[in-house]
Symmetry: C2
């Protein structure tokens, strides 16, 4: 079992990616293969050590830049670190890929090199913090124009992912909409509601935007356009709330003194809403395991993403997904809408 980590292309450079990968290897006893340019990876690996031989290196001479078009990169950069990492999985030389590089290119490369599970639209899942346990939101950006059958597939995949990570059974599924009643929502969501209701999933009904952070469901289903906006809105709002609060506090000496006393509480809070704690976002529905990290990821986020990839390999995720789809009668019904 080994995780191929794309060492290149992240916003903060290879050093933090390599640091996180080495930490994951030694903390989690995980075999890691760093993929990238020799001059970028080897000196850093030498500095940090290879975690008792757990971390190895595989050269890839090209790098996909952040702004590059995924299709261009697929055509022109056959030896990019992203491409080489997925080829290793295809050839059985690795079992999962973790990348903090160009996420569109990672997605496209996974589709082309590994392929999708038959009939399935791959989707990206992400953890969101709530007042209770974190919730899985799916899709958060792989598909911008979805049909009801795709949203239904996301619900199945989100459930399998949630089970793989938590080890618990029967997650509660919610469908993101604009009212609790089954008559509320756009056409796409209303048809998805019917599919979910006729499935074997533990479907609780619609959830509204304000319920996302209540933690009363385990998996929230939405199309990738809506999900991506929600994910980024939440990140942006949490940051803005802290910034607004900080500027209010700094405007008064008394409040500043108070803040100093309360600092550890703020720190624990920040940890709770920090996406780095959740590592990366798995790409579900492909024939293999892929985890996409935020471009701005630090070492901790990479470390947690590698651990997540390892957990998904252990849980035999692609096999679990195939099994879940085949045992879901509504998949056949959903095929027409």
């Amino acid at each position: 079992m080994s995780v191929a980590v794309d060492a290149m292309g992240a916003d903060r450079g290879p050093a933090v990616v390599i640091e996180g990968a080495v930490q994951a290897a030694s903390e989690g006893n995980i075999e890691v293969i760093l993929v990238g340019r020799e001059d970028a990876v080897l000196p850093q690996l030498e500095k940090l050590g290879n975690a008792g031989g757990l971390v190895t290196f595989r050269e890839a001479t090209q790098v996909v830049e952040m702004g590059e078009s995924p299709s261009d990169s697929l055509r022109r950069k056959k030896d990019s670190s992203i491409r080489v990492a997925f080829e290793m999985v295809r050839q059985g030389k690795a079992d999962a890929v973790v990348s903090a590089g160009n996420s569109g290119a990672t997605l496209a490369t996974a589709m082309v090199v590994l392929g999708r599970i038959k009939g399935i639209r791959p989707a990206i899942a992400a953890w969101m913090p709530t007042l209770k346990d974190p919730v899985v939101m799916i899709d958060v950006g792989a598909n911008v124009d979805c049909k009801p059958r795709h949203l239904f597939q996301f619900a199945v995949m989100g459930s399998v992912f949630w089970r793989s990570i938590t080890g618990k059974e029967t997650p509660r599924i919610g469908l993101l909409s604009i009212g609790e009643e089954d008559t509320k929502g756009n056409l796409q969501v209303k048809k998805t509601y019917d599919l979910l209701e006729s499935s074997t999933l533990n479907f609780l009904g619609n959830v509204e935007g304000r319920d996302v952070f209540r933690g009363d469901v385990d998996v929230i289903v939405c199309d990738g356009f809506v999900g991506n906006i929600c994910l980024k809105l939440s990140e942006g709002l949490a940051e803005s709330v802290m910034a607004m609060l900080k500027s209010e506090i700094e405007s008064s000496l008394l409040a500043t003194m108070g803040y100093t006393l309360a600092r550890s509480a703020f720190k624990r809070f920040k940890k709770k809403v920090d996406y780095a704690e959740y590592g990366g976002a798995p790409l579900l529905g492909i024939k293999g395991v892929g985890v996409i990290c935020h471009g701005r990821s630090g070492a901790k986020a990479i470390k947690n993403a590698v651990k997540m990839a390892d957990a998904l390999i252990q849980a035999d995720l692609p096999q679990q997904l195939t099994h879940a789809f085949s045992s879901e009668p509504a998949m056949a019904v959903g095929g027409t809408c």
Copy 2:
């Protein structure tokens, strides 16, 4: 000039609505007509006083309940407070309606009684707090399945509304999407991008979820399904952030002492993110002025909504909208998509 206030149907009962309406009348020197059941309105009005004769009463014997279907209420309750309020505007006996009752019924009644501006899809606009000045988001729930031409109309209406309230010219328009480049987004958004780019509006391009609270644009355009989810997600997240922070603070004595010192900063912050400060959400694109309030509105939110309605009457909003549409060449282009 007068504002008809639906005194019935709000979550917290007629008393808070009447209190807010009377406050708006006396603070803003605004004529207000309270519409509702005599037994619910008159005793309360007697208690609070009629603001030197500015507040009058008009009876409506029926009430639309929160869970009621808008079409049912239109068919069966010809003498509901919502219906009577809009009829008064149609008959020239009032100039605007404010309601904190069933918002679907308010929307439907406005459409049926006042009608829409020709060729236009009415939409609901809402203020969102940002790190800088508040931003207008439109649509936040009137339309769940929109075409690009509708999103373009929302941009025109949002601009006119922003100008009416701020008194400033040429708002900066952003289109809510999942990336800054014009190639990012779903089909609906990509076509809207082209319409906005060929218009006379001050269109800055796409904004992502994380940019909503940055305050770098003045009007954010989206379809009502996405907008409603974003609005409620923001309310829910701001509440959850405060709750999480509070529970972290209460878990330590030192932090609790600190919080006590910083309390006034927290209060100012709460005020900044409190939707009550922004009053209500205007319904734009109808032949008249209508302001929809949160069902949970307190007296302050009602007061601010009445003041907003008065400002929109003063600005002659429906006339401004008609003018803006007629002087926008892209309206003709957009008619086909």
